[in-house]
């Protein structure tokens, strides 16, 4: 017994020593870093990472709420092109002119577009500060120019939905969106006026155009800056400028009308000025974008069939290839078969590219601007319209009116998010007589624009709400 106690004694001391060793050796183990996230201060520590942050801007712009379809389609069913028949009550509110400030889909559009602006501001502010001698000035200039283009594009887009257009109310003094142009946290800026946003977009695009690349359709580029300036000038009714900007693109041999309508998911097609490339790995993000909403069940949600009014518009001239080649019939969200667009047919992976700016729009813009301005910069309006009609398999016209030009524009750009502004800037109601809520859809009516989201105003009460919300 005696020996066993001694052994036990030694053993006990050994144990206590072991315990002391264990307890003193583990404290530094709690210094852990995440495996898959990069610390903010590391991102702008070298050129490669900083360029990753530029790529990140495009990634954020790929959100359905930004360039990939949710925002664009919501304006289509707010207008006369599309009938929304899905389950989302927040989308239904927009259709019914019953939108509430708490509409979470609109909150998402605001939020996601400001994500792009925030990501761009970080690049613009930090790229000049990167300490990396291999990060050349040319690389830096292009990185900043791409960021500034994407920021200008997003500001232009959201200015169309969150404030009244130039043609109603107090014009350039209509309230638009807050113009946040620095990455400093916690600023408190009131809503800028539409004039301020337009001036910012114009100045920015003209300032960066020479730093942008000219040989790409899938990144911010010189042509895209010109095309956006053309669209903007058209919205501002600066007819000569609009015709000139559009003419520049049409005369640029890098771009030309595609021979048919198979260009949508072909980023190399000369049709595209800027197309946002989506693929199966990284594409439309929610299933509520171009592909998800516009394809029939079961591949898509079957939420956005053609409205009867749009069907009638194509039916007025049978044989229109823009209808015959770009439609499909299948079960809609409610079960019955409906007619859907076929511009975004890849409904399993939602990998269809987003058409952001394409050369067809430039023909339509040149035609409309020349017609309204009484000019024929580059071509007559009739020539431009007949060029597009020929591609669509339709016979030449002998004369055009504004109504004909707008009708061609509608049939070319349906489901691409242009219809709403094309109506409003021409002082036309969003809905046609006989369509529901026609009265509420007249230019200048409260619910033709979206509310400043309630959750944003909860945090920034100094942002004035739009009337009626």
């Amino acid at each position: 017994m005696k020996t066993s106690i001694n052994k036990n004694n030694k053993f006990s001391l050994l144990l206590l020593a072991l315990m002391v060793i264990l307890t003193t050796s583990c404290e530094d183990k709690i210094e852990l870093l995440p495996e898959d996230l990069t610390a903010s201060d590391v991102v702008f520590s070298n050129g490669a990472l900083a360029l990753g942050a530029v790529t990140g801007i495009y990634n954020r712009a790929q959100q359905d709420d930004v360039l990939n379809g949710t925002l664009q389609f919501s304006t289509e069913w707010q207008s006369d092109n599309v009938e929304f028949i899905g389950t989302f009550t927040t989308f239904g509110e927009i259709r019914d002119y019953a939108t509430l400030a708490a509409n979470t889909s609109i909150n998402g559009m605001w939020d996601d577009n400001y994500e792009v602006i925030g990501a761009a501001n970080l690049v613009i502010d930090n790229v000049p500060l990167v300490q990396d001698e291999n990060f050349t000035d040319a690389q830096r200039s292009q990185a900043i120019a791409e960021a500034r283009f994407m920021r200008a594009l997003v500001y232009f887009n959201i200015s169309t939905i969150f404030g009244q257009p130039l043609q109603v109310g107090s014009g350039v003094n209509n309230l638009s969106v807050p113009l946040v142009v620095s990455s400093e946290l916690g600023q408190e800026l009131p809503r800028a006026t539409l004039g301020q946003v337009y001036d910012f977009v114009e100045t920015e695009l003209l300032d960066i155009i020479s730093d942008l690349p000219s040989n790409t359709r899938t990144l911010a580029n010189q042509g895209a800056a010109n095309a956006l300036l053309a669209r903007k000038a058209l919205y501002e009714e600066r007819w000569t400028d609009a015709a000139n900007f559009a003419n520049d693109i049409i005369n640029n041999s890098f771009y030309s009308l595609a021979p048919d309508y198979t260009f949508y998911d072909s980023p190399d097609s000369p049709e595209h000025i800027f197309t946002l490339v989506n693929d199966a790995v990284n594409g439309q993000d929610t299933g509520q974008g171009f592909s998800g909403l516009s394809n029939p069940v079961p591949g898509g949600r079957g939420d956005v069939p053609f409205s009867q009014d749009l069907l009638d518009a194509y039916a007025a001239e049978p044989g229109d290839l823009r209808f015959d080649n770009l439609t499909q019939t299948g079960p809609g969200a409610e079960g019955a078969d409906r007619i859907f667009t076929n511009k975004f047919p890849e409904d399993v992976n939602n990998s269809d590219d987003a058409p952001v700016l394409r050369v067809t729009e430039m023909y339509l813009t040149r035609a409309e601007a020349n017609f309204r301005g009484g000019t024929s910069i580059g071509a007559t309006p009739l020539e431009d319209i007949n060029t597009l009609r020929n591609r669509a398999g339709l016979a030449d016209l002998t004369s055009v009116t504004l109504e004909i030009i707008l009708n061609e524009r509608r049939k070319e750009l349906a489901f691409e998010g242009q219809r709403r502004m094309d109506l409003l800037r021409n002082n036309l109601s969003l809905r046609r007589p006989g369509q529901p809520n026609e009265a509420s859809s007249a230019p200048g009516m409260d619910r033709t624009i979206y509310p400043i989201p309630q959750s944003v105003r909860d945090l920034s009460p100094f942002l004035e709400q739009n009337p009626g919300y």
């Binding site: 036990n8 004694n9 006990s12 144990l15 264990l22 183990k29 709690i30 852990l32 995440p34 898959d36 996230l37 990069t38 610390a39 903010s40 991102v43 990753g52 942050a53 790529t55 990140g56 495009y58 954020r60 790929q62 009938e83 028949i85 389950t87 009550t89 927040t90 019914d96 509430l100 708490a102 979470t104 939020d111 400001y114 994500e115 925030g118 990501a119 501001n121 946290l185 916690g186 408190e188 800026l189 693929d279 199966a280 790995v281 990284n282 069940v297 079961p298 898509g300 079960p331 809609g332 969200a333 079960g335 019955a336 399993v348 992976n349 990998s351 369509q435 945090l459 920034s460 009460p461």
Partner: protein, 1007 residues
């Protein structure tokens, strides 16, 4: 033959006694209270070293003298002393020592006898839970412990219930308590593969209720302080069954079969009603939607997705051992069907608990549990693939089959066709979990009397694979996805303890320990689309690969802990203090370490001399405690400012992911707790009441920031804000009839948890509502909408909605109340106000057990009062303008002045806004539920003597037999929780599958 030997032997002994006169040999048999032989009983001649032990049949033989005293002693039984008389046969029956050994309660890192307990702990024993039939282990606490609120989150299988101990203790972090099984803190923050909203895979599904011996719920901070930064939500300590020490081998077999049906469903429109209603509405001048085409069919989707589910459970265990070693081995196999089609769960689990008292200074223990779940899943709630959701929305005139009986696509609702989906698609989760700990317990009395050291190492390993395969019909080209999640958890505990009596009356226990935990998480995901054939099962055969990803995550915790307990005069006065210092990888560089502590006092008043003559009260005890605990459930790297990796057009990119806060630290809960226990009528009536006030400060909030001005980011984690939970926990136990007269025994137990939750302070930078109150929006889980807020001065789960008035009988307009109190047809966000709360005022349970001869009847009610539920799904099922099916409530449409209608006029613009979120969907969530009724019959001993069986018990159990709830909940279940974690709104329904009524028939056998 045996009897003959025995008599012969007696005869021999009798002769010997004559021959040797005084020196004689005494023999006999020692049995227990049931008359079964007890092997290994120590038989000692008092005050001598002369002793013997009983053999396997309980027989002993010892040489002694007339007049000597024999002492019979055995662990767990009262010691008996018998004087040796003239006879030489002494048969002894030992009584179990229930009256002498005081009830032992499992506490943090140890155990304590109930009398000396000074902190707030509720216990649930095996007898309380043996009749509960559930696939979610958390549910066994439902209605069983005061102050413990358990809400089932869905009637679907594998749903993870919400547990709140003494109210909602956090806003931004998870409020789930910490689960500890045999000393191993369980990981429960791993990926649960949520499909749709609501519950993912229950992280505790591997716990087999049949293995549980007892549960201790540590409710106050003082009780949970030894769990430090993780004790803030309370701690649930589960102790599994041990082996026997009495040499007996017990085999238990339990087999049962269950039949389950849904408790309630809403009444839906049939095809004709649907067509008529929709046509009526769409003819209205205010409605945009186009005319409806009648699909011409008639299909009861609800009937097609629900079923009577039949389940089987088989449980086997064997326990045995002696004072040297003991074991418990258990195995369970369950085939469970859910009440929804396609919802199936197969569980297989094994447990081995072995303890070896190797030497007088070393005890080795191994507890190991291996479980395997094969879960054929069904998406929940907010998913077009959720069968129940779709059944409520699917147009009744659209059939899922064509005229030849082949599946068709039926519209977007239901991923094309929810019936086909369940019949054809694969959606399978297989989980293997190993929870094991081994410990060496060293008795160091040789070094210092009363000193011992325990080294414990545990692992908790989870391996889950979720596999889906969608067929061509429902996903053109077909698709497949695989996700593999692994948790590797390692826990090390070193505990030094010291117990010593000084003099007669001073008793001191000390504990010091060190603990280290390491959690590693791995996640691998892949998906493929574009298959040639549905027969190709795996991604390998796909043509496009949208997702290929792996990720990793980790956290670590290093801790030092200590406790001192002193009691005087066998617990007349008790003092206890504990402290834990935690260092966690989760928190800000400036605040890695936090210290938590507690102090408690107890006074057993009945032990005082002045109580000697007080007959009417027994066991009167007063205790009070103060303590602090924390909550660290906020993800793994909540304090860092980061960019996340992503890509565009094949190029890698980075985008802002989070804003930094290096000062981030734990939430801290401080509890003040006072308890009073008393027994009356010889403890036939016992009463326990506890008052508590929990103040949780340094609340970790994801404080929303306006993305407009914060680079697109939505918030930052901050320690800011404070909330209070105050309340009473009351437990009353009564033995109403003790069976002494006619054999009828009736015991009754009532527990009540009263709680008031108030947010006392929120950040200055918080949003401010129209009335000037600061608030934090609760998120809606996977739902975009939540009408719930934590509001300063009010509940952390306040409903904030526009009040709905109804349809004006004169105008046919739906009317709401505006901010100034006037009816309006165009309410705006500013008209919202506080209209209720999701927290109940009181929750509890009421159980009654009746036993008469061989019969036993056990009933358990659970209840909740004072909470409101938001039935968000009614915004869909009562939306007059949608194209989807609706409940029959909508049939009452306003047509002419004077109509008391539910639905506004189709010509009123309010027909479009009628279904907006408002109090129209808010209902009183109070309920009383007959949770469990079990009737059992045990065969009598006289019957059993003839067979090789010691117990045969037949039982029938009914679960959720009756539910009393408000009329507004018709068709819905009062137990809902869409998104029960973190900052999610509580008490919000979104197509929550109602609970099942389950009828179970089974048999227990023991031998």
């Amino acid at each position: 033959m045996k009897q003959l030997d025995y008599k012969l032997l007696l005869f021999v002994f009798f002769l010997s006694s004559i021959v040797f006169a005084q020196q004689k040999t005494v023999t006999g048999t020692v049995t227990d209270g049931d008359g079964l032989p007890l092997p290994g009983v120590n038989v000692v001649v008092k005050n001598t070293a002369n002793g013997a032990q009983t053999d396997f049949d309980g027989n002993y033989s010892i040489a002694t003298n007339k007049g000597a005293v024999l002492t019979f002693s055995y662990v767990g039984f009262s010691t008996k002393e018998i004087a040796v008389g003239d006879g030489s046969v002494i048969d002894v029956q030992l009584e179990t020592a229930a009256d002498e050994l005081e009830e032992v309660v499992v506490v943090a890192y140890g155990s304590q006898i109930e009398k000396k307990l000074v902190t707030s702990i509720s216990t649930v024993s095996n007898s309380d839970i043996q009749d509960i039939i559930t696939d979610s282990p958390q549910n066994i606490l439902q209605g069983q412990a005061s102050g413990v609120q358990v809400f089932s989150s869905s009637g679907g299988l594998g749903a993870s219930p919400t547990i709140n101990i003494r109210g909602t203790s956090s806003i931004g972090s998870n409020t789930r308590p910490l689960f500890v099984i045999d000393g191993v803190t369980l990981g429960d923050s791993f990926t649960t593969f949520q499909q749709g909203s609501g519950a993912g895979i229950n992280p505790l599904a591997s716990i087999n209720p049949n293995d549980i011996e007892s549960i201790s719920v540590l409710k106050s901070a003082a009780a949970a302080a030894l769990y430090g930064s993780r004790g803030g939500n309370g701690v649930v300590l589960i102790t599994t069954k041990r082996g026997n020490k009495n040499g007996r081998v017990t085999v238990d077999i339990d087999v049962n079969t269950s039949f389950a049906t849904i408790t309630d469903t809403p009444d839906l429109l049939n095809s004709q009603q649907y067509i008529d209603f929709t046509t009526l509405i769409r003819n209205g001048s205010a409605v945009s939607a186009g005319p409806l085409t009648d699909a011409g069919g008639e299909f009861d989707a609800l009937d097609a997705v629900l079923r009577t589910a039949v389940s089987q459970s088989y449980n086997f265990s064997v326990r045995g051992g002696n004072e040297k070693a003991n074991y418990f081995i258990g195995a369970t196999r369950e085939d469970i069907e859910g009440i929804r089609v396609g919802d199936n769960l197969e569980r297989t689990s094994f447990r081995t608990n072995i303890q070896a008292n190797a030497t007088d200074w070393l005890t080795a223990t191994l507890n190991a549990n291996v479980s395997h779940n094969r879960f054929d899943r069904v998406p929940n709630e907010n998913s077009f693939a959720s069968p129940y959701t779709i059944a409520l929305l699917q147009r009744p005139d659209v059939e899922p089959f064509d005229e030849n009986g082949n599946f068709t696509t039926t519209g977007n609702v239901g991923g094309g066709n929810v019936i086909a989906q369940e019949a054809l698609n694969l959606n399978l989760a297989t989980t293997t979990r190993i929870v094991a700990n081994g410990s060496l317990d060293f008795n160091l009395s040789s070094l210092l009397d009363g000193l011992s050291f325990k080294q414990d190492v545990g692992i908790d390993r989870v391996f889950t694979e979720n596999q889906t395969r969608n067929v061509e019909l429902l996903t053109p080209g077909g698709s497949a996805a695989n996700s593999v999640f692994q948790q590797n958890r390692y826990i090390l505990n070193s505990i030094l303890s010291y117990n010593k009596n000084f003099g007669d009356k001073h008793n001191l226990s000390l504990l010091a320990g060190y603990s280290f935990e390491d959690n590693q998480f791995r996640n691998i995901q892949a998906s493929g689309t574009g298959f040639l054939s549905d027969a190709q099962q795996n991604i390998e055969s796909a043509s496009t690969f949208p997702l290929t990803s792996s990720s990793g995550d980790a956290n670590r915790l290093v801790s030092y802990l200590g406790r001192a307990t002193y009691d005087y005069a066998d617990g007349r006065y008790i003092l206890e203090g504990s402290v834990r210092r935690d260092g966690s990888s989760r928190f800000g560089a400036n605040n890695r370490f936090g210290t938590f502590w507690s102090a408690a006092v107890g006074w057993n008043i009945s032990d005082e001399a002045f109580m000697d003559n007080v007959e009417w009260v027994q066991g009167l005890k007063l205790n009070a405690s103060y303590g602090t605990t924390g909550n660290d459930r906020i993800g793994n790297f909540p304090s860092l400012g980061t960019f996340a990796g992503n890509n565009f057009n094949g190029n890698p990119g980075l985008t802002p992911a989070s804003l930094e806060n290096p000062d981030l630290q734990w939430e801290s809960t401080t509890t003040r707790d006072v308890g009073l226990t008393a027994g009356f009528f010889n403890r036939r009536l016992t009463f326990n009441v506890e008052y508590y006030k929990n103040v949780t400060d340094n609340l970790i909030l994801f404080v929303p920031v306006d993305p407009t001005f914060n680079n697109g980011l939505n918030g930052v984690n901050q320690n800011i804000g404070e909330l209070e939970n105050t309340g009473f926990d009351v437990t009353i136990d009564a033995i109403i009839l003790d069976g002494s007269n006619d054999g009828l025994k009736w015991t009754s137990s009532l527990n009540l948890g009263f709680n008031k939750n108030e947010v006392t302070s929120l950040p200055e930078t918080s949003s401010v509502d129209e009335l000037g109150n600061r608030f934090v929006d609760r998120t809606g889980g996977s739902l975009a909408f939540s009408g719930q807020r934590a509001i300063e001065g009010f509940s952390a789960n306040s409903w904030y909605l526009i009040p709905y008035l109804g349809v004006n009988p004169q105008t046919g307009d739906a009317e709401w109340l505006d901010a100034s109190g006037n009816p309006t047809t165009t309410p705006v966000a500013a008209d919202r106000r506080i209209v209720g709360q999701a927290n109940p005022d009181v929750v509890g349970g009421f159980s009654n057990v009746f036993t008469y001869k061989n019969w036993s009847l056990n009933t358990l009610f659970n209840f909740s009062f004072g909470n409101d539920i938001l039935l968000t799904s009614r915004a869909f099922t009562e939306n007059p303008i949608s194209g989807f099916n609706k409940t029959t409530r909508v049939l009452n449409v306003w047509q002419q002045p004077g109509d008391q209608a539910f639905i506004p006029s189709p010509d009123s613009p309010t027909i479009n806004t009628f279904n907006q979120n408002s109090t129209a969907q808010l209902e009183d969530g109070s309920f009383v539920r007959l949770k469990n009724v079990t009737l059992s019959y045990s065969l009598s001993d006289s019957l059993l003597e003839k067979v090789f069986v010691s117990k045969v018990r037949f039982y029938a159990t009914a679960t959720n037999l009756l539910t009393f709830k408000s009329d507004g909940l018709d068709g819905f279940d009062p137990e809902v929780s869409n998104g029960s974690d973190g900052n999610d709104a509580a008490g919000q329904d979104f197509f929550t599958l109602p609970q099942a009524s389950t009828y179970t028939f089974g048999i227990n056998l023991s031998f």
